[in-house]
């Protein structure tokens, strides 16, 4: 008999490792689909891994004025993203570390990572880092309440804040078919776009100084540091999409650890995340980037939708 602690650690490592391995693929897949929509060939599907490998092999170039904060930033950001993956049910309706906490811990962990990266960007005193950090935090401050409200709307449906218990309850109840589901989903989808830095909020492919947000914040990083930031961002993106599919369409998720159920869950999860990735790509390809001052309006729409999702349960 294996002690529970080892089981938990093993499951956490497995899930974190799996998410880390799959994340670059998602980013490249979105890039590829976007390229196809523009009649371009696009990068090969493994390009994300090649890029990471290339960056990791390089030597880190750091500014002379950089302190330990600058070095710690990407590492804490990466660690926070990896830690967050263990708080969310992915293939099995159990989050490996669900005993540690639920929605609030997840949002807090991600916020902590962002805080570390923003302080690191301020550290060298370069104007780009400061500007990027300020913009990123502005959007984060607006998006976070909406994210929490949207998640709370689902938590209310199941009566628990713990993501593992929540998904199990949702699987057991079946789809609730309440207007609140759709409203919360629409609100959270906008938040996912804002948080992952995609058009219409931010453009991941630009290095034009006026428009970049996340890119400006990490502009000074090079080599392995940059690889960590990119990788963590990809993991976060996959994490958000996973959260959406498992909270709103928990069809096919495994309720027991059997090979067959796990295989079905893997297929279902891949398919659902892929569908959402298509939706993200279409939104990104058919919309123009918003001016920075227009972003709060978009985020306030999602805040409104998330709030309504919560309120409508009581009406």
């Amino acid at each position: 008999m294996i002690p529970d602690a080892f089981l938990t650690i093993g499951a956490s490592l497995l899930q974190a490792g799996g998410m880390l391995a799959a994340a670059p693929l998602l980013r490249t897949a979105i890039k590829k689909m976007k390229a196809r929509l523009q009649n371009r060939q696009g990068p090969p599907l493994l390009q994300g891994y090649y890029d990471l490998a290339k960056l990791i092999r390089k030597e880190p170039v750091r500014s002379e004025t950089a302190s330990w904060v600058y070095v710690a930033g990407p590492r804490v950001y990466f660690a926070a993203a990896v830690a967050a993956t263990t708080l969310v049910p992915v293939l099995v309706a159990v989050a490996p570390l669900e005993a540690a906490g639920g929605i609030l811990l997840l949002v807090g962990t991600l916020a902590f990572g962002r805080f570390a990266l923003a302080t690191a960007a301020l550290d060298t005193g370069s104007p780009f880092g400061g500007m990027g950090a300020s913009r990123d935090m502005t959007i984060a401050a607006l998006a976070e309440p909406a994210l929490m409200l949207g998640l709370f709307a689902q938590a209310l449906a199941a009566g628990t804040m713990n993501l593992g218990v929540l998904v199990r309850a949702l699987v057991q109840q079946g789809p609730s078919w309440h207007p609140s589901d759709l409203l919360a989903f629409a609100g959270l989808f906008i938040i996912v776009i804002a948080e992952t830095g995609r058009i219409p909020v931010d453009n991941p492919a630009t290095h034009l100084e006026l428009t970049m947000i996340h890119e400006a914040m990490v502009l000074e990083y090079a080599g392995p540091d940059l690889a960590l930031v990119e990788w963590a961002s990809a993991v976060k993106e996959l994490l958000y999409l996973t959260l959406l599919v498992n909270l709103f369409m928990p069809v096919g998720i495994a309720t027991s650890v059997e090979t067959e159920a796990l295989f079905v869950a893997l297929m279902a999860w891949t398919g659902k995340v892929f569908l959402l990735a298509i939706a993200v790509t279409v939104v990104e390809s058919t919309n123009a980037k918003l001016r920075l001052f227009r972003v709060p309006e978009l985020v306030s729409v999602s805040l409104g939708l998330a709030f309504l999702a919560l309120a409508i349960r009581f009406l």
Binding site: W177, H178, A186, L308, A311
Partner: protein, 215 residues
């Protein structure tokens, strides 16, 4: 299953209304209206199948062809010809409008419980969403300056009325529905012409400039 589809579509219509409130690009707003009408068409089809009322298929077909395809196409062509693509400044900022709309939705939902059919179940959500849409449409009409957005607000109100008629009553007679449909299309045509006249005269779609016509 029927109830689920109905609730889902009604919620979808509410989401499109909120996105319309938060949008300033005219093309997107027009497309959102198209999606909203399409959802209304799905509602009509679902009720037609579930309660075997074949005359509702005509309603659904009319709704989809007229309101989801023809009217959006016509409005887009109008916008294209006059070359003004954005709502510049509504009277209220977007976050403030959203707050007001949240309040309106809450009011709509509360009022819906006063109806006999609206106290619970599908009827509650259908009437709630329809009343909210109605109020949001009226609100959009008074806070937006561009003539095109005002037309869209009017059409949203019309969609809301249709939703109530479909979901709660046993349906209007076909002749009345035909009449309403032609009314709507005529209204849109006339308003489209009016918009172009306004733009021709003032080089802007801003309706508030019309007050300058006073002597």
């Amino acid at each position: 299953m029927t109830a689920n589809i109905l609730i889902f579509c009604a919620a979808g219509m509410l989401v499109t209304a909120y996105l319309m409130v938060g949008q300033k690009a005219l093309f997107t707003t027009i497309r959102l209206y198209g999606v909203q009408s399409l959802l209304l068409g799905i509602v009509a089809t679902t009720i037609a199948i579930a309660e075997s009322r074949p005359e509702l298929f005509v309603t659904a077909a009319l709704t989809v062809t007229l309101k989801a395809i023809l009217i959006p196409w016509f409005l887009m062509r109008t916008v294209d010809r006059i070359g003004i693509h954005r709502e510049i400044e509504p009277f209220l900022s977007v976050p403030a409008s959203l707050l007001v709309c949240l309040g309106l939705t809450v009011v709509g939902y509360r009022v819906s419980t006063g109806f006999q059919e609206g106290a619970r179940g599908v009827g509650h959500h259908l009437i709630g969403v329809a009343l909210s849409l109605l109020l949001i449409g009226l609100f959009l009409m008074v806070t937006r300056k561009k003539a095109i957005t005002q037309i869209l607000a009017l059409l949203t109100v019309e969609n809301a009325v249709f939703l109530v008629a479909l979901g709660v009553t046993s349906g209007m007679p076909l002749i009345v529905e035909l009449g309403i449909s032609f009314d709507v299309i005529l209204a849109v045509l006339v308003l489209g012409v009016l918009v172009r006249r306004i733009v021709g005269r003032f080089e802007s779609m801003d309706v508030s400039r019309l007050s300058k016509l006073k002597g």
